[in-house]
Symmetry: C2
Subunit: 224 residues, 2 copies
DNA sequence: CGATAATCTGACCGATTGGACAGGTTTGTT
DNA sequence: AACAAACCTGTCCAATCGGTCAGATTATCG
C-alpha cells in the first residue's frame, strides 16, 4: 500500500497513515537539507513535532525511513512519458516532457535534491533501482526516440544523451537553486522566471532535434 | 635554487606543502564520497596515511580543511572563458567552453561532486563566493553573449540560461555518473563515450544558438 | 466491565564524533 | 653542544549519534 492511498483510508488506519505522513514529510526535508549522514533522527522528530522514539516506532531505523522517503519520491516520476508511442508527435512529446519535468522540479525541489544527493553518494540505496526499473524505463524511451529517427521525424541525435540533457537541465534549477538565484541576483523563482526557463529549454531541445515549435521559428545565422 | 645542503634538505616549506597536499587530496576524496557531515577526520587521516591529530595540526578544524579543499576546487574553474571578448567568434568560444568544462568533469569528477554537494546543502560555505567572484564572472560572460546577440552574430537566447545549460549538462556526467553508467549499461566512461558526449553537447548548444559547426550541418525537419 | 493489544515516550546505552593537549621528536641556529 | 622553534602523535574528553526498552497510556473488543 502506497503512503498516498493510505492517507485517504478510513478508520484507525487513517490516523496511523496521517502520522506516518507527517514524519515522512519532516524526514524528506531534513534528509534533503542535511544529507543522509547529516540528518539526525532527533532533528527529524523535532521537525515532525514528535518524540524521537516515536519515529523509531513507526519506521524502525534511520535507513528504513530513508528508503521509504526515496520510494515516495520515485513515485513522483512514475508517469513520465508513461503512455508515449512511436506514433506520437516527437515535438509535442518532448515539449510536454520538459515542461512536466520542470514543473515537478519547482514544485518539489527537496525531492529533487534528495535524489541528487543519493546519486552523488554513489546510489548506495538506489543502485538496484537504477539497474532495474529505471533502466527498463530508460531503454523503452530511447527505443521510441530511435523509432522517430528511423522514421525521419527528427534529427539523428543520440537518444540516451538527449534524455540525459533534459534530465540534467531541468533538475539543475532545483538542485542548484542557490547558485542560480545568486548568479541571477534574484531572491526566489517567480512565475515569469519559470516560464522563461521552460520556453528556453523547450526551444533548445527542439532545435537540437531539428524540430521547431509551431509559431516560434528560430532564426538561423550562418557561421563563419 | 641551489643550497649547500642540497641532499639532506629540500626546502622545509616544500616538505610542508607536500604533506599538506597529501592530506588535501585525501580530504577531497572523502568529502566527495561521503559528504561534509559523512566524512570523518579519522577517515581522511587514514586515506592520507597520517595520524588524525596530524590533520588537525595542519588544518586546524574540519571546517577549515573543507574550506581549503573547496578553495582549491574553485581554482580549477578560474580560467574558464577568462580572456574572451565580444570580438571573438561565438561558435568557437562556446564549443571550446563546452569541451573544456566537460574535460574537467571527466578528469576531476570528485571535485565536481564535492562542489555539487556544497551547493545542494545551500552553499553554507560558498554563499559569499557565489554572490561575489562567481557573480562577477557570470555577469561578465552574459554581457559578452548579449553583445554577440546585439551584433546579430547568434540567435537571441537568454544568456544566463545558456550558461546554466552548459554548466548543468557538462556537470551531469560527473555528478550523476552512477546513474548515467547504470542506464547506459556500461562499467565506466571510455574515450569514445566522452567524445560522443562532447560532440552531442556542442551540437546541441550551437544549434540552440542558431549556429552551426563547420562541416556538420544539422538537417532540419518541419514540425506538423 | 476486564483484558488484550496497540500506541507512545522518557530514560538510558554503547559507539563514534571533532577536537584538545601534554609531551616526545626532529630541525634550525648559534 | 646547547637551546629554541617547529613538528608530530597517543591519549583523553564532552557531545552527539542511532537505537533499545521498560513501563505508562490509550484504543479495541468479548
Amino acid at each position: 500500500m502506497s503512503t498516498a492511498s493510505a492517507v485517504r483510508a478510513r478508520g484507525p488506519a487513517k490516523d496511523r497513515a496521517r502520522k506516518r505522513a507527517v514524519i515522512l514529510e519532516a524526514a524528506e526535508a531534513e534528509f534533503a537539507d542535511a544529507g543522509y549522514q547529516g540528518a539526525s533522527m532527533q532533528a527529524i522528530a523535532d521537525r515532525a513535532g514528535v518524540p524521537k522514539a516515536n519515529v523509531h516506532y513507526y519506521f524502525g531505523s534511520k535507513e528504513q525511513l530513508y528508503r521509504q522517503v526515496l520510494e515516495d519520491i520515485l513515485g513522483l516520476w512514475n508517469d513520465f512519458l508513461s503512455d508515449v508511442t512511436p506514433a506520437d508527435d516527437p515535438a509535442l512529446v518532448l515539449e510536454g516532457f520538459v515542461r512536466q519535468k520542470l514543473r515537478l522540479a519547482f514544485a518539489r525541489p527537496r525531492a529533487s535534491r534528495l535524489f541528487a544527493q543519493e546519486i552523488l553518494r554513489g546510489a548506495p540505496v538506489l543502485a538496484p533501482h537504477l539497474e532495474g526499473d529505471m533502466r527498463r524505463w530508460f531503454a523503452s524511451k530511447t527505443r521510441i526516440v530511435e523509432a522517430w529517427i528511423e522514421a525521419g521525424r527528427m534529427a539523428a541525435v543520440e537518444p540516451d544523451l538527449l534524455l540525459f540533457t533534459i534530465w540534467s537541465t531541468t533538475q539543475h534549477y532545483a538542485d542548484f537553486e542557490v547558485q542560480v538565484l545568486a548568479l541571477t541576483e534574484k531572491p526566489r523563482y517567480d512565475d515569469a522566471a519559470v516560464e522563461r526557463i521552460a520556453d528556453f529549454l523547450v526551444n533548445l531541445v527542439l532545435s537540437g532535434c531539428g524540430l521547431e515549435r509551431a509559431g516560434v521559428p528560430l532564426e538561423r545565422i550562418a557561421h563563419g
